[in-house]
């Protein structure tokens, strides 16, 4: 059995990744053009299954054979056929491109696939955006819980700060609101102001993170965990009491500016910046603090600075994610940002893997897909997910991809780099 999966994996790897992406794009176009027709003709009376028919597993299990047929016809066959055919040609072209151009092509293609696929159903767009927001939350939490080895649940609180602050900025600027008065800025500025508002939210969250970062100088482990827990409750409690932003009733009317494009861009930025950090010597000191803090201190590492960077980065990106979330939902209330939200991100983190960038992506994607499957179960989702996570804790305490990364394709032509051993 293992041999067969190995063979399968090797076969998948032998086809150029760009070819896979082109195949995916073709498949999305196929679905866009004839998807509905195919769906109806094979018995899917509701039309195109929104997210691979995952939610039908428990909702309408009898339709599963039809769903599988649909997946094969619309996804599997076009993707595989196109990928297989183009692999050789694409491989040659891609290897000629300089590194930067190659990366750009990949990203544009990925974006195109997501856009076309998502455009068929608003629900798909929401799922994709939630995945993006989940990735941002997970990878930034990974910095604190994975690379720095702490146990923090404060991210829901950071998310709340980012969500509210960015919403306040946007509502004050662009919406005629009871509390914040008439719109102050011209609406044409809104698309430009949005990222600025998000960043302001992120910075506010980062400042809030000092409440947690400073105690971390002297406290570790469980006790720091409790401080982060208290932080979440405090943020929730404070917001509940601030009536000018709606208190427990919630806050709304923020303009729905979280397009798939924006979420895609911010997700890429988060992944890029955090990956850059943890691969630098500067960032690796974070793991040194985890593995032996006293040794790190004596080896010139400013452990306080390392901790502050980790917590504030986590907070900043969680704040961005909160802002994106708020401007996607159009309504937020303190209940959104409690322990349950923290636990959801923890689930994504452990599902994917500690100390792994690709693991964070995998975790967020898997969690959303699992949520999709469990959606028809309603409440019982929160019976299944805890059990799932407990099993992961028992059998793979560092997550599925803990300390490992999925190897990404090499991008184009490498610049000539003299190897250190070549030097005299």
């Amino acid at each position: 059995m293992k041999l067969k999966t190995d063979k399968l994996i090797n076969h998948i790897l032998s086809i150029h990744p760009m070819a896979w992406l082109i195949g995916a794009l073709v498949s999305a176009v196929v679905e866009w053009s004839v998807g509905t027709v195919i769906a109806y003709s094979i018995g899917l009376s509701d039309g195109i299954p929104p997210v691979f028919g995952l939610s039908l597993i428990f909702a309408k299990p009898l339709l599963i054979p039809s769903v599988i047929l649909y997946l094969v016809l619309v996804y599997l066959i076009p993707i595989y056929v196109v990928a297989r055919l183009l692999s050789g040609v694409v491989g040659k072209v891609m290897s000629r491109l300089p590194q930067l151009a190659s990366i750009a092509v990949y990203l544009i293609m990925l974006y195109a696939v997501l856009e076309v696929w998502g455009s068929l159903d608003d629900y798909r767009l929401m799922v994709l955006k939630l995945i993006g927001i989940g990735i941002i939350l997970t990878v930034s939490l990974n910095l604190v819980n994975g690379w720095m080895g702490e146990f923090s649940v404060a991210h829901a609180g950071f998310m709340a700060i980012g969500a509210y602050v960015s919403s306040i900025v946007m509502v004050w600027g662009f919406v005629n609101d009871d509390v914040f008065g008439p719109a102050v800025l011209p609406t044409s500025w809104a698309p430009v102001a949005f990222p600025i508002a998000l960043i302001i939210g992120g910075i506010a969250a980062a400042i809030g993170a000092l409440v947690v970062a400073i105690p971390s100088f002297r406290t570790r482990g469980d006790y720091l965990g409790i401080i982060t827990l208290a932080f979440v409750f405090i943020v929730q409690g404070v917001i509940n009491n601030l009536n000018f932003i709606g208190g427990a009733r919630g806050f709304m009317h923020m303009p729905p500016l979280s397009s798939l494009t924006w979420v895609f861009i911010w997700t890429l930025l988060a992944l890029f910046m955090i990956q850059r950090y943890v691969s630098s010597t500067y960032g690796k000191a974070t793991s040194a603090v985890r593995d032996n803090e006293s040794a790190a201190e004596v080896m010139t590492v400013d452990t306080r600075k390392v901790k502050i960077i980790a917590f504030l980065t986590n907070a900043f990106w969680a704040g961005i994610a909160g802002g994106l979330y708020a401007h996607m939902m159009g309504y937020i209330n303190p209940g959104n940002f409690g322990i349950v939200m923290s636990v959801e991100v923890l689930a994504m983190l452990y599902l994917g893997g500690l100390n792994s960038i690709t693991g964070s992506v995998v975790g967020a994607v898997f969690y959303r897909l699992i949520s999709e499957i469990l959606r028809p179960l309603g409440l019982y989702k929160w019976v299944v997910i805890p059990v799932l996570l407990i099993l992961i804790m028992i059998y793979r305490p560092f997550g599925l991809l803990g300390f490992q990364e999925i190897k990404l394709p090499t991008f184009g032509r490498k610049k000539e780099v003299p190897h250190a051993a070549d030097a005299d």
């Binding site: 201190e297 010139t300 030097a423």
Partner: protein, 255 residues
């Protein structure tokens, strides 16, 4: 001006006096020994000098500045590095990374370079790579560069720790029982390493050891500590047959 001057260093842990009125002078290029029975306070003195503890009394003057009260990372940046009695490597990382991190305070590319990349950062990382590899080569462990340290044998790990300490570019290197757990052959190798480091880098070394052969052959001068106090000091010959020293170790006077 001596490289390091310690005056009247005294430290209490609660009610327990661990170090009492310790004084020493170390010049550039010295190889000084600190010996004594277990629990005499030797590692405590290292901890006091490197800033892990703040001494109850006394001053530690390094290159003319009193470093008491400074944080350990500041002190190491000033040029004092150490190895540990019980190996404190960062086990989940490679040998190369373990060494490179010791250059943390020297890194110039800062947050911008760390989060965004850029040529400055890549250049600097390459330089760090080269410097670290040179140190690994000096210690004859360059072929283990990409190994995870937890997979390596004990003797190699000890060398990694020394390489890491040297990455700090110390003027003073504190070695805490570098030969602990080693076979006699390994110990001789380490002795060669220590001599070589001194020759090539010209730094001062302060050595805590229990292996008398090592101490007697390497050190120019030795201090003997017992119950936190210096009970004898001088060149190896003066210490070797000193009855006070022998009594401290063995408990009786050997005639």
């Amino acid at each position: 001006m001596p490289l390091m001057q310690i005056n009247h260093l005294t430290h209490f842990f609660g009610g327990l006096r661990a170090v009492h009125d310790f004084n020493t002078t170390i010049e550039m290029g010295d190889l000084k020994g600190l010996i004594g029975p277990n629990g005499a306070g030797k590692t405590t003195i290292f901890n006091l000098v490197t800033g892990v503890y703040r001494p109850t009394e006394g001053e530690v003057i390094f290159e003319g500045k009193n470093i008491v009260g400074k944080r350990p990372n500041v002190i190491s940046d000033m040029g004092i590095a150490r190895t540990f009695q019980n190996l404190r490597l960062w086990t989940n990382m490679t040998v190369l990374d373990n060494v490179k991190i010791a250059a943390y305070s020297r890194i110039k590319y800062g947050l911008v370079g760390a989060f965004l990349g850029g040529n400055g950062r890549y250049e600097e990382e390459r330089m760090l790579d080269q410097e670290a590899e040179r140190l690994l080569k000096m210690l004859d462990i360059d072929k283990f560069r990409d190994f995870k340290v937890s997979n390596l044998p004990y003797g190699i790990q000890r060398r990694v720790e020394i390489a890491r300490a040297l990455m700090v570019r110390p003027k003073l290197l504190l070695l805490d029982e570098p030969a602990a757990g080693m076979s006699p052959a390994e110990m001789l190798e380490i002795m060669d390493v220590i001599r070589m480091i001194q020759d090539e880098l010209g730094l001062a070394i302060w050595l805590i050891e229990h292996r008398m052969k090592m101490v007697m052959e390497l050190c120019q001068s030795i201090q003997v500590l017992n119950f936190g106090e210096v009970i004898a000091e001088g060149p190896p010959d003066a210490i070797r047959n000193n009855p006070v020293v022998i009594k401290a170790y063995l408990g009786t006077v050997v005639s």
